[in-house]
Amino acid sequence: MLCALLFKHSARLMYQYDAYDQKIVDQRVAQYRDQTQRYLAGELTEDEFRPFRLQNGLYIQRYAPMLRVAIPYGMLSSTQLRTLGHIARQYDRGYAHISTRQNIQYNWPQLEKVPDILAELAQVQMHSIQTSGNCIRNTTTDQFAGVVAGEIIDPRPTCELIRQWSTFHPEFAFLPRKFKIAVNAHPDVDRAATAVHDIGVYIVKNDAGEIGYKILVGGGLGRTPIIGSVIRDFLPQAELIAYLEAVLRVYNLYGRRDNKYKARIKILVKALTPEVFAQKVEAEFLHTNSEALRVPAQEFNRLASFFTEPAYATLNDNPDALTQKLNDNKAFALWFSHNTHAHKKLGYRIVTLSLKKTGVATGDITSEQMEAVANLAEKYSFGEVRTTHEQNIVLADVRQEQLFELWEQVSALGFATANIGFLTNIICCPGGDFCSLANAKSIPIAEQIQRRFDDLEEVYNIGELDINISGCMNACGHHHVGHIGILGVDKKGNEYYQVSLGGSSGHDASIGSILGPSFEAEEMANVVEEVLNTYLDNRQDNERFLETYRRIGIEKFKERVYA
């Protein structure tokens, strides 16, 4: 009864399945169970089974399978998080990993048990549908959606609309390559790396005050990093699905299939030019933009009804209880200023739990920690949790007067490292420790850098800085868009690391430039330190690293690092 009440309580904050959604997910579990059984019985070959297991998020990794579970646009209830913790304990080794696309990954499940895991997920309205494979992947967005000031509108109803449209789309299940969509609704900040997605959907308002979408296509990282191009400045809200159908059909028909490294939509957009690609899409859109595909306003209202405001109390900012603790406790004050963010409601704050403690693999979280966070979310944040592109966790609705007691509990969990926005908040893929694609390990490099910069005062002096690490060209750690990017490369069987500078994943997105020849693993903390010393020596006023870099260029960094 209590459980049901709690679930209902969180129901107002996120999408809830109806009978249609539940049936589709349940039938998927049955389908995948049958596929697994036929594979194990030898009726499906390895090659035949592969695309189907991938479309259920199951990779075969270096040591074991890896199962990636979808967290649609990063939204989780406490109930769901508990189930994720239970799965880690029951079917894995007691921990899981949060990915840069807001999903969660298990590194050691048994292939035979995956159908059972999916059945457990389905009971809490979760799945692993299309978290891998050459299909439309999980739609991601700003982890502060709906609680931060300055959004045009909440992006989550749009994300859910896209989630449903893309789930088992019959025409687009076997695309040339994977396909990722992100939604941004904030004109000032992009926390979802939207510009480096296959499609970036920007919620905008036109001169007439109407809400619609600006559409960007052909962004992406990997071997050929490209910032996407805008192909439509304003698309009426109702026409989003018809337009996405047009983009996907053009890609499905004309994207390259002869070379998997040239198969992403970015290559097609580049080859045709964005202008010609846009013309092809518009020509297709004339056909797809039918009455049937138009999304009725009632549907947007229905979707929006799931993301209504929780029962916020009427409060004031900076209550005495908070001010006093901020004055008394320096560690708390640092955490407050770096790991919490302004909320649109007076008296509330958005809290980021840092999964970037030195000595723990980036984004990793244990079963016990998941359960503890679920409890904290229920006690302090309406039973709702979000995962972030930077591989952290957010409690979105915390009363300022409760921040101190929350901080004490978060500290005990090891999630209070006050480094959000700073250099030790490293984005890092699982790398060669787990992944069979990796050329090099990435986790030990992150740790080496975190250990070198263990003095928070120094970290704060360096200021806002994104370090992103990928173990190979596939760029799961988004190294191209890190202010400092680190890429693992293989040189004659040895692990080396290439450094790039000046990347950004925000509205000012840019691809980093390669500094020069790659380095051995043990040099990496020294290299980062020399890069940062160059910055500190050249910094003017309160310039961020990225601004200094953009002003002075790469040569000064190169001279110093290779001196």
Partner: protein, 163 residues
């Protein structure tokens, strides 16, 4: 004659696939695009049922002017993970108005049938080494879908509002 799945049932296949130029057999035929382009008059004059098979790199635009004279179009999937045929099927049904038999051939088995059916295929030449009875069940893997497609003109976001 091998069996195929057609309109949800296992039936004998009446068609013979013709990929080499020459005289046409006294039989229902499906010809390759090459044969079609070189022997169009003979194919159209053929006294039995006839149609064309397209490969993944052969867009159906190439044959739209003759669609209403064809009984069948077969879209070949040499490898099932090449999904162009799904879009061709939708175009044939929705845009070019093809109402004849639309057949999926090649690397076709249970796990593709549901999506193929949704995109407008009504017959399936299942790969010879796969069990047809098993494959048939694939047509009903799901009883609900979110999207509009050939088998369902209204997306769920409209059907929900109507219900």
């Amino acid at each position: 004659m091998p069996n195929i799945i057609k309109n949800g049932a296992i039936v004998a296949d009446s068609y013979q696939v013709i990929v080499e130029a020459g005289s046409l057999p006294n039989n229902d035929i499906i010809v390759s695009l090459d044969i079609w382009l070189s022997q169009k008059e003979a194919v159209l004059a053929h006294a039995y049922k006839k149609g064309i098979m397209l490969k993944p790199d052969q867009h159906p635009e190439a044959i739209i002017e003759s669609l209403n004279q064809l009984d069948i179009i077969a879209l070949d999937f040499p490898a099932f993970a090449d999904g162009r045929g799904y879009s061709y099927a939708v175009l044939l049904r929705q845009r070019y108005g093809f109402t004849g038999e639309l057949r999926a051939t090649g690397d076709i088995f249970k796990d593709n049938l549901f999506y193929l059916k949704r995109c407008g295929f009504d017959s399936f030449a299942v790969r010879a080494d796969k069990d047809l009875q098993v494959a048939l069940q694939g047509l009903t893997d799901f009883s609900e879908s979110y999207q509009a497609s050939i088998d369902e003109s209204q997306p769920l976001y409209r059907r929900r509002l109507a219900s």
